[in-house]
Symmetry: C2
Subunit: 452 residues, 2 copies
């Protein structure tokens, strides 16, 4: 019988994270403050520990993973690399399809890879509380999971409409001991201001970020934690691609193409950056970020300085953006609804070193269901984006007869997303293509920045 899962021993968990900045042809663009000048590390120290700020700006290629972090990784890592024999047979494709399954983490996605590291460095810095925001709950539950492990209280500002509609992610966070508040709350200036204007506000990710950051900035024992976008978050996620490379070595194969879903960028960065290291040394490998057509920042946005949050409180980052007040339509089920993208992913895309594809919602669910019926695992809607792009490529191989090696990151399971599958089966999900004017209108609001 041919091998299905390529496993590694716990001793093979990477001992260092890979920093893509070391291999980028140009230095990363700096974040800018409201005055248009680069924001120094010191401005971030009210909400982040020094170790993470150092990682955010480091140009060092390899950064040591602390033993304590690797020890907690052992609860689920190394994650398995699967050869998708049954999916290949169903497609009748000559392509070889592999996927890294990150849904084996207790929180069910790749997010704990960075949550553990952030918990560790905050504990080292003497921090007793962490705040964060969460929408659907993937990130909030990951931080809740590790809070316990580092004796750190975790407070999650959960967008009120999600808090009410998705009670099970909330229960998960409470099981791990986190405090979960429906945002807007009356506990922060930002929340009270919103509630004064609209006592029934359903909340938004932008409001929840404001509440979490405000609390962290105003308390000495409290820091703030973010689950994507920033350089140090992508750094921590590189354990995914680093393990995958070892696993490919074991079976004597190597991907022609690497696919990962792309919202804020940590999923894609984690899976693809370690392969970028090879590409930078001349190896041929195509790296494909897959985003939703309903939130097409890379494929239809502008490459420009914009705010990271909806209300303009964060530093500005140079990134592909749809405008910081862009709101994707409510018909979209997945968690890839960020208006912008990681600065690192954006820069690599702008320089033509990585590729991007936008896929429509219904085809992602078609792909996810086909996958589930053959491989068993029911994927998260975000992961379905990568699966969709891989299946399209594998079908192309069927036509051309090319036996390409395709690899994707199956970033999480869909156990907490069955309501989206329900909507798909009952015909309530739709596709949405923005008219060019809608994109242009959103981009009118980009901040003016005099670039040096």
């Amino acid at each position: 019988m041919s091998q299905t899962k390529i496993l590694l021993d716990e001793s093979e968990i990477p001992t260092q994270w890979y920093n893509v900045i070391a291999d980028m042809p140009n230095p990363p663009t700096p974040p800018l403050g409201p005055d248009g000048k680069p924001v120094g590390p010191e401005a971030l120290s009210a909400i982040f520990p020094d170790a993470l700020i150092e990682q955010e700006v480091s140009g060092q290629r390899w950064i040591d993973i602390p033993d304590k972090v690797r020890e907690i990784y052992q609860l689920w890592r190394p994650s398995p690399l699967y050869r998708a024999h049954r999916l290949e047979a169903a497609l009748g494709t000559p392509a070889r399809i592999y996927y890294k399954y990150e849904g084996v983490s207790p929180a069910g996605s790749h997010k704990p890879n960075t949550a553990v590291a952030q918990g560790y460095y905050n504990q080292q810095a003497g921090i007793k509380r962490l705040t964060t925001e969460t929408g659907a709950g993937q990130w909030g539950s990951s931080l809740a999971l590790v809070g316990q492990m580092f004796d750190i209280e975790v407070r999650v500002y959960m967008v009120k409409v999600s808090y009410e509609q998705k009670p099970f992610r909330r229960s998960m966070m409470q099981t791990w001991g986190a405090e979960v508040l429906a945002s807007p709350t009356d506990q922060t200036e930002a929340g009270r201001k919103i509630l004064a204007g609209d006592p029934d506000s359903p909340g938004s990710l932008g409001i929840a970020i404001s509440e979490a950051v405000e609390e962290a900035a105003s308390r000495d024992d409290t820091n703030y934690s973010l689950g994507s976008v920033l350089n140090h978050v992508l750094l921590h996620q590189t354990v995914i691609g680093l393990e995958a490379k070892k696993q490919f070595e074991k079976v004597g194969d190597y991907p022609d193409m690497v696919f990962a879903p792309c919202g804020g960028g940590s999923n894609f960065g984690g899976a693809a950056f370690p392969f970028f290291a090879d590409k930078a040394s001349g190896k041929e490998v195509r790296l494909v970020a897959v985003e939703p057509a309903s939130c097409p920042s890379l494929t239809r946005g502008h490459y420009a300085y914009d705010f990271g949050d909806a209300v303009g409180l964060t530093p500005m980052m140079k990134m592909y953006t749809l405008g910081h007040d862009f709101v994707p339509p409510g018909i979209h089920a997945g968690g890839l609804r960020y208006h912008g993208d990681s600065a690192l992913v954006s820069q690599l895309y702008n320089e033509g070193l990585i590729e991007a594809q936008a896929v429509h919602q219904l085809e992602t669910f078609d792909a996810g269901v086909l996958f589930a019926r053959n491989e068993g695992i029911i994927p998260a809607p975000e992961s379905n984006h990568a699966i969709c792009a891989v299946i399209n490529e594998a079908r192309q191989c069927t036509k051309t007869g090319e036996a390409k090696t395709l690899f994707f990151n199956l970033s999480g399971h869909g156990h907490f997303d069955m309501a989206s599958y329900d909507k798909y089966f009952s015909g309530e999900l739709h596709d949405y293509e923005y008219p060019a004017e809608a994109i242009d209108a959103a981009l009118h609001n980009l901040p003016e920045v005099a670039e040096g």
Copy 2:
């Protein structure tokens, strides 16, 4: 760093199931028909394929696992054996705690171990459709998962109240292509009869079984499939204990005590029977079935012939039973609500070869939350029963200083049971202890059987 997960290669998936009947000191008691005479294999052939009927009555110690079944097992097997370092530290116990994690299957529990085998043998017998019943949905989703893989249509009669209250298990089954009906339906004689009497009937497991069996018995291309209780189901589950024994060998340890939740018995049989083989050869190992105090068949029931279903359609089996019309209180959240128990488990218990413990609901959730906060995984409420018993034993070890090796089957995750955790956190769950008269009353209804 000390090892957390003890893994096996796919080549180490067992090639044979272990049949405990070969090592039992006495032959198993036969099932009896309505006339009080033993039911022959031929009576079962309307709803089961011959291969499964042979396994049901076989006395052979080892039964080959077909290659095709092992190939599908590879999608998640071998499952990891964990050493619970963090839980041990939290308890300050000298005990060594290990758990086998069966939640890695796509359906999230141990149930697919037998679903795959049943799908295979039914396909071999030319069967195109399988019917089954499901309450909370663990079993129905496992059969749905494998239906696709053997080109077998699966129809699940899901108890109507669960169908309405637990939509996500239903969506899971639909994702895997199964047809899910809210039972009672108007498609069977049994269902129509119930609906005629009560158009708003919430359904029951007994009614759903009647519908599934009726349909299977009346159609040549259709068989029926059961997820626990029967000998062949427990047989298929022995891959759990067989793998665990190999994993213990790798780390040079061996359990003093084996714990598993016990409802119908497949969870316990699967984990414990392979260790019983050693016990039968003189090795010291205690095997502990853990049941809910709200449905205490082993610890408070009678050992007697009784029907397997609520309405008396099935053959009678000699087992520990609370009476076939016993209905546990609705306050109980777990899935261990069966009035009886596997005949094999019952016989071994009656002969003093295995032990049983009953635990209360609130302490099981206390245990599950403590486990989740240390080990990460959020367990299914059924699994919490075993965890509770293990934690009690480990705390005992703390007092006595004994460094016992404790092993339990973590039979599934709780991702589809968060509503129960919610109720626990909000104080809506309660314990329930039956007064002796209540148990006696239920037992008054046992069928009269003249035993030979």
